[in-house]
Amino acid sequence: MSEHGPVDTLKAIGKRITEAIGEGRFPVVDLPNRATDNIEFDSKLNQFVLGSSRVKRDSSNLKHIRSFAQLTWVAYFAKQLLESDRTSSLRDLYYSSEAFGVRFNDQAESDRIITDLECLTGQPREAFGIFPEERSSIFGSVKLNYTVPGYEGREVDLTLSPDGFPIGRALMTAEPVETDAEMILAVESGGMFSRLIETKAWKRYQAILVQLGGQPPRSTRALMRRLHEAFGLPVFLFTDGDPWGMHIAQVVKSGSANAAHILGLTIPSANWIGVTPEDIREYSLPSEPMASADLKRLDELARDIRYEGPDWQNHIAEFRSLSRKAEQQAFSRYGMDFVVDTYLPDKLE
C-alpha cells in the first residue's frame, strides 16, 4: 500500500470496509502482530522489524469492535487532515475524538490506535499529519525545498533563524537541495544546541546541528536520515552520560521496538561520541551517583540485542564500575567554551 500516497492508502481501507458492509459482512482488517514475541532484530537492517505473524481485527467480535471503530475513525480523521493540509498533535487527536462521538479512555489508547494505523499502512503517523507534542530543532548550512501546499518549491536556508528551526511536517517533507556541511551533529539538550549555534561551532565543524530533546520524534529521525542519505553526511550523537542518554543514541542508530513496524528511520552508521563513562573519568566531570533506576536500566540494556557489540558492552561495564553519571553541561566546569574548543574537536577527529 505504501507505494501509493497516504490519501489513497486510507481510501483503500475505507473501500474494504464499505464493501464488506454493503455485502452484509462484518469487515475484518489484518494487521502485523506487534506483540513482543513477534518483534525481532534484523541485523542486516540493523533495526527491529516485525515478524511474519499477523492479527485479525474482526468487527463482529465484541472484543474487537471498539478498537475497530476507533481505527476507522482515526483513518478518517487522518484523511481529513491530509486533505485540508492540516496537522494534529497526538493530544489534539485525542481531544477531537469526542466531537465525533468516538470515545477513548485516555490518550494512551488513542496513541495505540494511531500505531495500529501505522502498522496497517506501514507508514509513520507523521505521513498522516499526526505529530507528537514535542518538537526538536535543526540549524545549519543546508538548503531545502518545501513541498507542503502553499510553500511548494520555496527554498529554506536553515541558518536563517538563530534559534534553529522546529522540525514539523514542512521540514520533514522538504527536499534537500544543497549543503556545505560535512557532518550532522545531534545533541540531547537545548542548552548545548544553543551553545553550538552561538559559538559558531557549527561553522567551525561544518556541522548541521540537531537538538534531539530526549528520545527524538520520528520526524526528526526521518529528516536526519534523509540528510544523511542525500548528502552522505556522517552522523554524530552527543548525549548525557547515563544509560538513558546512551539509549537515545542507540535508538537513532538502530531503532526501537515500538517502531518495529516502520522502516526507514534508522541510521546504522551513526556514532555516539559521548558523554561516555570513560569521558566522565578522563575529564573528571562533576557527576552524581547512579540511582537504582539507572542501574536497573543498565541491566536491561546489557541484555538488549542492540548492545551486543563489544564497544557497547564495554560502555555498560564502565558505567557499572563507575556507578556515576554526568550531564552534557558538566563540561561547563572548565569554562563555557571547553566543549566547543576542546572536547568536541577531540571526539570528532
Binding site: K11, G14, I17, A69, F100
Partner: protein, 505 residues
Amino acid sequence: MTVLNQSVEGFRSISPAEFFYRNRQMAGFGNPTQSVYSAVRELVENSLDACEDAQRIPQIRIAIDNQSSDILSIKVADNGSGLPYQHVPEAFGRVLYGSKYDQKQKRGTFGLGVTMAVLYGQITTDSSVVVHTQNSSGPGRVYSLLIDVEENMPIIESEREQVRSDDGTTVTIKLRGDLKRARERVVEYIRLTTIASPHAVIELDFGGSEMIKVGGWSKRVPEVPIPSKPHPRSADLEILRRLITKSPSKKLHDFLVDSFQQVGSRTASRFLKFLGLDSSARIESLSRADISRLSTSLQRFDGFGRPDSRCLSPVGEEAFLLSVRSLFSPSWILYSKQKPSEWQGNPFFAEGVIALGSKFPNVDTPTLYRFTNKVPLLYDANDDVMTKIMRRLNWKRYGFSGPLPVALFMHFGSTKVPYRAAGKQSLAHMIEIETAVTGLIRTLGRALRKQAGRRDQSRRDARKMREFSEMFNIIAKYGPALAEAEPPSSTAHMVKTLFEVNTDV
C-alpha cells in the same frame, strides 16, 4: 391505702361489650382512620365467608358516604345465602356471639369484629346498625339493632319484613371516622382482598364520587374446606369445657373419640391408661383438677396423629399467580408452598408468591404483602413474625445486589390464627410457624436469586448490544466517508444477527 380502697370499690364485673369498648384499639377501632378500615374489613370478611359457604362467586358492593364532616355511613351488600333470622339480633348485637366455632379455616373468627363495628358506631353516632337479610326460607327482613353495652345483649329497635331482590345480606353502620385518610387504606384492602380471593368481585363506591371495581380474576369458586373436629393437642381448658358442656353424660373414652380428630378407640384407651383415668367414667363427674390434667395431657401426649389439613383452604398456585398477575402485571412470578404443619394442634399452611415487576417499589428488600386466612393485613407490619423473618434474611444472598422491584405475597392459613391482638393485624411468634415461613421465604428467595441472575445477564446482553451497535455505527459511518462512498441505510439487521437478547426478562 386509698389507692387500694378505690380499686377495691371500683372492682366489679364488666360485660365483654364494655370491656372491648374500653379497649377498642385492641380490636382495631382505636382511631377514626383505622375504624373506617376495620368496619369495612369486618363486613367484607363476613360477606366473603357467607358467599363461600353458599358456593357462589361473591358480588360485594361497598358504599361509603360522608353524612357530615366526620360521620360516615358504611354499607356492605353481598349475594350470600343470607342469615338465619333468629340469629340476626345476637350476631350483630352481642359481643363474642357467632357461628364460626367449628374447626375450619375462615376469614372472620368469632363474633367480635362485626359487633365491635356496631358498638363503635353506636357509641360515636348514637345510631343503630341496620341489617337487611334474606335467605331461602322466605322474604327478607330488616333489623335495626343496638347493643346493651352493660348487659351485652342486643336491643331490637325495629324488625320488619322487606323483600330483597336476591338472597344475601346488607349491613349499614353509621360511625365517626376519617374517610379522607382511610380512603387509600380501604382501596388497598379491597384490591389485596382480591389477591387471596381471586374469584370475588368487589365494587367500592365513595358517595358516587368514585367507583372502583376490582376482582373477578378467577371464575372458579374455591372448594369449601371440610370442617373437622378439634385436634387433641389444641384442647385448652376453654375448648375442653365447651365440649364437655355439649354432652356431659358421655363416658370419658367415648367423649374423646367423639370430640376429637386423630383419636380412635385404641388411641383413647392407650391415652387414658397412660393417664390413669377410668375410661368409663362420666365426664360430668370429673373434678376440676381432672379436667385440668386432661387438658394438659391432651396437649402433651405424642401418640396422636398430625391434624387433618382438609379443613384448610389455601389460595393455591393457579389462583394465586392469576390474581397477582392481574393486579400487578409482573415480569416474573413464582409460587411456592410449605407442607401443612401444626402449631399446638392447629393445622396450618404457608404459601407465597414472589414477583418482579415495575409496579412494585424499587427497594433493598422485597415489599411484603401479608395475608392470613385470605385476609390482607395492612397494619402493625413491624410486629408481624412474617415481617421479622423477611427482614432477618440477608437479601444480598437472594439477588439483591442493588434495589429491585420485588414483592413477596405471604399467605398463612390455619383453623386458628395466632394474632398478636384482637385487631387481627399481625401474626404472633410461634416456633412452628416461624420455621415454615422461614423455609418458604428462603425457597422463594432462592428462585429470585436465579431470576435476578438471568435478569442481570439479559441487561448486560442488552447493554453489550447497545454498545456494539454504537461502535458499529461509527464504522458504518466513517468507513464509507473514508472511501468517499454512500453510507449504508441501516446496519441494525446485521447487529441483530450477533445477539440473542431476551428483553422480556
